[in-house]
């Protein structure tokens, strides 16, 4: 039943490697972008607050497929932004990461905001009483606590991100979903086996993340 694995016709590991790389790069990028967005949303400058809120509400309500496809022909085909890549496959890969960052950043931002909300106001007040300015209050006192409180929602975002990489199939990044579609078409009689293989692959990718971060959330939780 699983003999298609030995045929050498399909590069399963390669496809999942692309998926893993997509997830990893996007995770780092969206953590940075999401933190910046969260900082904007609590900043003293009204325009930045407005931008952060508008951005989050717009992008979060758009299907990821639209975001990623827009990256492909909005940025690449029309504005000729290729992110330094030459070949179409590389461009697709990098733009998919950009799209995933733009989209996932909004969820990171919301997770962080819920984390910031768990920090007791006294913490920030005390920091201000010590004479710290906004950036210092945020980076030295509030965000470190907020991150620790936000580990669980952030873990969920990371798992969702890993699964969302499949949408990159829409602009031709050669990841797992593309391969699964091809295999379903060619190996229709081994349908369950094909599905089992891909399900297993994603469980391998997401389950340890979930378990590890669940453990980390308990370790890191701020005792109050």
């Amino acid at each position: 039943m699983f003999d298609f694995l030995d045929s050498g016709q399909y590069d399963l590991l390669g496809a999942f490697w692309v998926t893993a790389k997509l997830a990893l790069y996007s995770a780092i990028g969206s953590l940075i972008w999401g933190t910046a967005l969260a900082a904007m949303r609590v900043s003293p400058v009204p325009l930045m607050r407005g931008f952060g809120t508008t951005y989050v509400n717009l992008v979060r309500n758009t299907p990821l497929t639209v975001v990623i496809v827009a990256c492909s022909f909005g940025l690449d085909q029309t504005l000729n932004i290729t992110l330094g890549a030459d070949r179409s496959e590389d461009i697709g890969f990098r733009l998919a990461i950009l799209g995933l960052i733009a989209y996932t950043g909004t969820f990171v931002c919301e997770a962080l905001r819920s984390g910031i909300n768990t920090v007791p106001p006294g913490q920030a007040e005390a920091a201000r009483a010590l004479g710290l300015n906004f950036i210092q209050v945020l980076t030295l006192v509030v965000l470190p606590q907020a991150f620790r409180a936000a580990v669980t929602p952030l873990a969920n975002v990371l798992i969702a991100l890993t699964k969302n990489t499949t949408v990159a199939a829409a602009i031709g990044a050669a990841e797992a979903a593309v391969l699964m579609k091809e295999m379903i078409e060619n190996e229709a009689d081994a349908l369950f086996a094909v599905f089992a293989v891909f399900a297993f692959g994603f469980i391998v990718l997401t389950l340890p993340t979930g378990l590890f971060l669940g453990w980390a959330a308990k370790r890191l939780a701020v005792k109050r």
Binding site: T78, E110, P153, I159, A169, A170, A176, I184
Partner: protein, 296 residues
């Protein structure tokens, strides 16, 4: 909370804020100008690419509105099936019996770990190979199956978290009154948990509406996003215009749903103050909500 993070701006801070505003505005304007200039340069802002959406009502009646109907149909069916199924799975996860709790937990974790897109592709192939479902409905079935399996698992987690967020005393008191486990769940715990969960459940609707778009690209379901092919084939490859309009429709639909969720949440919070039940300030709604938010 935000006001706690910084002092009320004095004259210097205010000047600095104005400076930041100006710099930020300049950067935004610069980016916007550059994008618009580039689009204009490539003739993407040409009137004939955009005007069909305003002047030709047939774009709406032939493509966009039927597509939107399909999107909403799939979303509504999915949430209607996923809600009761998710509630059952959630209660199952809380069961006192190991033989219920463990397999249900495994099922929930399994479907939460697999991308909806793969679930849909598998369901589509399954219906094609092993059932006689007519091809008119096959894509709809596949989309709904994928969405239900995934979202029921997410809802199960929401229900579990909602019930666990209730004070222990509620369950203990019901037990003390001599209620059976089923009664405690249906009369005491679930009604209270529902109020905690509602905002999370409504935000899950947003996720479902967005995820229907996955069915268009790879399964050939005639939902809103997939209409772009036919529109761009008719109006001279106006891809940018078409995608912008379609994205706006999604944003408006989801903004309405989110707005309702927000109103619901505010109303609940007001209700909670006057109600006798105090739900722990930290655990409950925030956690439950963040759980669902990430489920995109």
């Amino acid at each position: 909370m935000s006001s706690v993070l910084y002092d009320t701006p004095g004259p210097r801070a205010r000047r600095r804020n104005v400076l930041f505003t100006i710099v930020f505005l300049a950067v935004l304007a610069l980016v916007a100008w550059w994008v618009l200039a580039a689009l204009n340069d490539k003739n993407q802002l040409a009137a004939d690419k955009w005007s069909p959406f305003v002047t030709d009502s047939r774009v709406w009646t032939t493509y966009l509105l039927p597509g939107l109907t399909e999107t909403l149909k799939a979303a509504a069916l999915s949430i209607l099936i996923a809600l009761p199924l998710g509630a059952l799975l959630g209660i199952g996860r809380l069961s006192d019996h190991r033989w219920v709790r463990v397999p249900v937990g495994a099922v929930v974790e399994f479907f939460r770990a697999i991308p909806v897109l793969l679930l849909m592709m598998f369901a589509a192939a399954l219906y094609r190979e092993f059932t006689t479902v007519s091809s008119d409905f096959r894509p709809l079935y596949a989309v709904v199956t994928g969405l239900v399996l995934y979202n029921a698992s997410v809802i199960a987690e929401v229900v579990k978290a909602g019930v666990l967020s209730l004070p222990r005393g509620q369950g203990d008191a019901a037990e003390a009154l001599g209620m059976r486990k089923g009664q405690t769940m249906t009369y005491i715990l679930l009604p209270q948990a529902v109020t905690v969960m509602l905002p999370a459940l409504v935000s899950q609707l947003v996720v479902i509406v967005k995820d229907t778009a996955l069915g268009g690209a790879l399964l050939g379901y005639a939902e809103l996003l997939s209409q772009n092919r036919q529109i761009t084939a008719n109006y001279g490859a106006n891809t940018i215009a078409t995608f912008t309009v379609i994205a706006l429709i999604y944003i408006i639909i989801n903004a309405i749903v989110t707005h309702l969720a927000g109103r619901l949440e505010r109303r609940l919070r007001r209700g909670r103050k006057s109600a006798a039940v105090a739900i722990p300030a930290q655990g409950g709604p925030t956690d439950v909500k963040s759980d669902a938010v990430s489920g995109a």
